[in-house]
């Protein structure tokens, strides 16, 4: 399974994601430059964290118009796996691949710390290695992670089980205190209707090795690899 990690001017978690995929998940991986339309036959695309195009205007607002994002949009529409992490989540929302928007943290401060998120839906290609209501310990680091959408969208997200991660306590309770940024409904990650696009504020690539303090993040990458292999087997057995 081949991964592609996008690079925008201002991306700064691209190498972390690349390292995790290559060294820990042990999968082929390549960088994809923002000015190219070519996704080089990758099977999954990572939109990494950072400050794409300096986050000028709004986070993710300019990156959305880059050539590579046109290709990512087509790839996602065709069912391709896309994972947006932090700034990548913001870009996916601005692109319309995911609903809603990520606003300035309610406390108006940059927040960088390990948090707990509860897996709300383990039936996605990104969480298949987890069980529902597992609590993962994964760090966040952002200024704009305050998820917002209108009431109708929230109702849809809930009904379709598209809320994938919510900020929780270690015990898995959803509380206001466990919410680091004011996100609506403690939302930390959501997926598309087709389940093939996931955006999340926590950084799984920063929690995939014991040396980094934890390996819960690796479950996301392991899920992607396992889901892709399973989908291949289904196709071959037909």
């Amino acid at each position: 399974m081949k991964f592609g990690v996008l690079i925008f001017p201002g991306s700064n978690c691209d190498h972390d994601a690349y390292w995790t995929i290559q060294q820990i998940a042990k999968q082929p991986v390549t960088f994809l430059w923002h000015e190219s339309h070519d996704l080089e036959n990758c099977d999954a695309i990572i939109v990494p964290g950072g400050f794409a195009y300096g986050d000028y205007l709004r986070t993710g607002a300019i990156a959305r118009f880059s050539p590579v994002m046109e290709s990512v949009k087509r790839f996602a529409d065709a069912g391709g796996l896309v994972l947006g992490i932090c700034n990548g989540f913001q870009i996916l929302c601005e692109s319309g691949l995911l609903p809603g928007a990520l606003m300035r943290n309610i406390g108006l401060k940059y927040v960088c710390k390990p948090v707990h998120v509860r897996v709300e839906n383990a039936d996605t290609p990104f969480t298949s290695a987890c069980r529902e209501h597992d609590v993962l310990n994964i760090p966040i680091g952002h200024m704009e992670g305050n998820y917002f959408c209108d009431d109708r969208t929230l109702a849809e997200l809930r009904q379709d089980h598209r809320i994938v991660f919510r900020y929780s306590t270690l015990e898995g309770e959803i509380t206001a205190e466990a919410n680091p940024n004011g996100s609506l409904d403690n939302i930390a990650g959501i997926c598309s209707a087709g389940r093939n696009v996931l955006g999340m504020m926590p950084h799984p690539e920063r929690a995939s090795e014991p040396q980094l303090g934890g390996t819960d993040g690796l479950k996301i990458f392991a899920s992607i690899v396992a889901s892709f292999a399973a989908s291949r087997e289904t196709i071959l057995s037909r």
Partner: protein, 81 residues
Amino acid sequence: MKALVYVSLKKSVLDPQGKTIQNALNKMGYKGLDSVRQGKYFELTLDGGLSRQEAEAQVEKMAREVLTNPVIEEFRYSFES
């Protein structure tokens, strides 16, 4: 011709920055302040060749597609010659 575009958060969206500014102004002793909302302001200098109607259509499209995120923001604009 210049287009002056004002972008602000929708009324239904909380504006913690505006709230913080309001608190600071209240603390300084300013009275009669009901609320403060923070926004963005853009000046777009347009090619003189555009008609008023064309300019309006273009400014609205740019504001909708790029200058604002319609999920959380709204805009208004005016022209200055």
